[in-house]
């Protein structure tokens, strides 16, 4: 009976013009979006590789220079694009792509793509994730809104009841008929994406497991939508009303809830403005050790402490250059201040995340969006990860440079220059995004919410259709 219903429904769907047209449109859109994304992906990564090597050249060929001058001259960390961003662009467009690493200062990632685009960019892009998250649920609505209402309207419901079919078999048939086209479309997309990515040799971290898990996430998302649409169709009497009600759910889940969530989150847990943030950091810096300022109270205290520790009574007797040592201590102190202030941002963001999570109870879109971005390494967490890695590297670089001065000069000595080939000894910046396992670990709450959606809607559907 399940298979009979399935074949009947499928046949019916494919005979209808609107279904054929909308399927063709969806496939066309997907094709275009994959093509555009692939081009963009290759483009960005080629630029990334070029920028990275060229930046390293600039650093290596600084010539003879004082290490601290080099520290001020600084270097850049560039953020690559990860393979699965081909499927889900996530927040990539809105997050900066390069971080300037210099002495005394932790800088934020700069130059997001969105800032260089016109106002039209805010309508969204034609990318695979747009189709997967917005258009496919609409397709499900289009295919399924009249699944049960048509039986009522055509009067076939009574006929069916007289057949003695158990409702759940009948339901399962209808369910799988709705699921099949969506499954085929998504599977095709993911297979094409996988093959494309597998053939791009240079950009290593792609693995099929991540793609598979992402595919599963979307399958659950669609299952939830199918459940909701069938539920509405079984509860409502007329097709028109079922359609309008389903659309309302779609608007609420995919359009209204995320925007409302973002507003509520911002009202409750605001970020400081860029200038406020800078002012707060400056305030804290003033109160602590400044590596450039030997006359401050903190510097004098450090001096006393070091003299005591080494059991000598003048800075000249220390086995290293105290100026460089103080510079490094100042650097460490400033790094701590930045750590504190960036941690505040992170805290605000994790509070905001809680709001997104609580609003996920009215929108299955939210957990799906977050999970998909996380697996694709295009979420905000990965961006933080990258920024933190860059900061760790910055601190290590400062230590490397100050250490060189401390070792090679005497206290009070001026005009020291490190040799031209010294710069090559600095290890290159290396960042690997978190593995799939830890990504999923970090997102357990989103998975739980999505799973709850799945089982709750299945349960509801099962019980309401028991008595049809």
């Amino acid at each position: 009976m399940i298979s009979k219903t399935f074949f009947k429904e499928t046949k019916e769907l494919f005979r209808e013009g609107r279904v054929r047209i909308s399927l063709i449109i969806v496939l066309l859109l997907l094709g275009v979006s994959v093509w555009i994304s692939t081009r963009q992906f290759q483009n960005v990564n080629a630029q990334y590789a070029m920028a990275k090597t060229s930046e390293r050249d600039v650093w290596d060929n600084q010539g003879e220079k004082n290490p601290h001058s080099a520290a001020h001259y600084g270097t850049y960390a560039f953020k690559p694009k990860y393979p699965l961003s081909l499927v889900d662009q996530g927040v990539d467009k809105y997050a900066g792509t390069s971080i300037f690493l210099e002495a005394h200062k932790r800088n934020e990632a700069q130059f997001s793509a969105a800032a260089d685009q016109t106002g039209l960019a805010r309508f969204g892009d034609l990318t695979p994730d747009f189709i997967l998250l917005f258009i496919l649920p609409l397709l499900i609505i289009l295919l399924g809104y009249n699944s049960f209402t048509k039986e009522r309207e055509m009067g076939t419901l009574t006929l069916l009841k007289s057949q003695g079919v158990s409702n759940w078999k009948w339901l399962l048939g209808k369910w799988s008929a709705l699921f099949m086209p969506v499954l085929i479309i998504t599977l095709t997309l993911f297979l094409i994406a996988g093959i494309l990515l597998d053939n791009l040799q240079d950009f290593g971290v792609f693995n099929w497991n991540s793609l598979g898990v992402m595919f599963l996430v979307y399958m659950v998302y669609y299952a939830v939508f199918i459940n909701i649409i069938l539920l509405i169709s079984s509860l409502v009497k007329k097709s028109g009303i079922a359609l309008v009600a389903s659309l309302c759910i779609w608007i609420l889940a995919c359009l209204a809830a995320p925007k409302a969530a973002s507003n509520i989150a911002e009202n409750k847990y605001p970020y400081p403005t860029r200038q406020e943030f800078a002012a707060n950091v400056l305030q804290d810096k003033k109160e602590g050790l400044d590596g450039h300022d030997p006359w401050s109270k903190e510097a004098k205290q450090l001096e006393k402490q070091v003299l005591q520790e080494y059991g000598v009574d003048s800075l000249h007797q220390l086995p290293f250059n105290f100026n460089a040592y103080r510079m490094q201590k100042g650097e460490e102190h400033e790094a701590e201040i930045y750590f504190k202030h960036y941690n505040y941002l992170k805290e605000q963001y994790s509070n905001q995340s809680n709001i997104y999570r609580s609003l996920a109870s009215i929108s299955p879109y939210l957990p799906t969006r977050f999970l998909s971005m996380a697996i694709a390494h295009t979420d905000y967490d990965t961006h933080w990860d990258f920024a933190d890695a860059a900061e760790t590297y910055r601190i290590a670089t400062q230590e490397f440079l100050n250490g060189n001065t401390a070792k090679n000069t005497q206290y009070g000595e001026r005009g020291y220059k490190a040799s031209a080939d010294f710069w090559k000894q600095l290890p290159a910046f290396q960042y690997d995004p978190p593995e799939l396992g830890s990504v999923l670990n970090r997102n357990t709450s989103n998975m739980v919410v999505l799973a709850t959606w799945l089982f709750a809607t299945f349960g509801l559907l099962f019980f309401t259709t028991k008595t049809l």
Binding site: I36, N43, T118, L126, P258, R274
Partner: protein, 476 residues
Amino acid sequence: MLSYNFKYELTLLLRSRWIQLLSLILVLLFGFSTYNGLKKVETRQDSIIKAKDEVKESDAMMLKLLDSVERGMEVSASSWTIPSSPMAVGNYHPRVAAMEQQPMSFIATGQADLFTHYVKPTVSGDDASLNFTEMTSPVQLLFGSFDLAFVIIYLLPLLIVAFSYNVLSSEKESGSLRLLASQPIGLQHWVLQKLVLRFFWLSLLVLVSLTLVFLVLGLDPFGEPTTFFGLVGLILVYMLFWFALSFLVNIWVGSSAKNAVALLGLWVLFVLLVPSILNQLGNSLYPMPSRNLMINEMRTMKAEVTEKQNEILDNFLRDHPEYALNDTTQSRGFYHRYMASQNLVKEKMAPILDSYEGQLQNQQNWIGKFKWLSPAILVQESLNRMAGTSKENYENYRKQVVAFAGEWRQHFMPFLYNNKDFSQLDYPNIPEFNYEPKAQNSWVSIPPLLLIALGLFGLGFLGSTMRRTHSIIMDS
């Protein structure tokens, strides 16, 4: 017939509780979105005021310090921050260059969540490193804001679709169409009258609920009558466009469900697909040069310049003999060399930075040509302009700031190269930034939108007279 139609339509709408439901939804949507917008504007304005107050305070401190220095007293500040040095004033006492909020800023977030609303340019900073982006969680940027513009552009059309998709088809389905056919009125006239009436009621509801929400939230809608009526006018013609589409679909398509699907398809097309495809095409046709590669070029240039600092300073002084003449000491330090080379970097970077502006302008022009394809784009553009939050507004602000940064730098150059101390007497002369908003014409997109809507109505009329009315009735 019109008066009958009017009377029965109203009774019908009231009895079916459409009017009550719509009023409630509209008040809720307008209320929530306006509140959100106001909140954001308030935060922005507050941060600007706070920044200006801080500058006032630090200025008072600076004057005190200057006073002590001028009287020859010992001061307890780090040597490089003492304000008798012009570079210390230029670097540690910058002015706030703020983009003041416009009276209608709350209606559209536009690019406001992406860009900052004040910066403090310093003498030694270069224009390329002035960061104009705001510190926002990218998740928020991704989801966007629930502002009035969102309600108008995205949700209002959907309300119209729900309100009008089955005007004709429900008569067909309930069997009353044959009854109607016996009345002395053409079918398309009848549908048109019904839709015009619904348009009238919805407009009235929109106007009333918008005014109500504005008043409750403490805004004076009639304080700026041209902008307020510009906004209302824009909403009405946009609504008219969707009613016109609904008219076409009602006459040409069949059952209620098919109508709804067709209208929804049009919504997806106009609101979601056309804008994103246009944007994508604009980006591919006029791609922005890579910012990362720009960084490389800037770095190489700076490295070259640093090596030749002395030479650059000599050339600079040759070009500016006024500096070399007036100074008796002729002493040259770090800042003399630095500022001269900064000048050179700025000149050399100009073409690279211009290429971004040029490409952005190309994209803008390209969109300007094709924006007529989707009224949603027209409305978004107009709302952003009305709010003063469009890309152009921020570009305009950025240019004003860059010009001001130049003025700020230039102001201190004579001090620096003449080795003249900054004194209390010089304080009143330091430049201030005044933001000049671009003049906006809030009525400009209304006529074309109106024409599009009327054109669609006309099309529906012509088409339906050709396709004999009786066939619609016989179909049922």
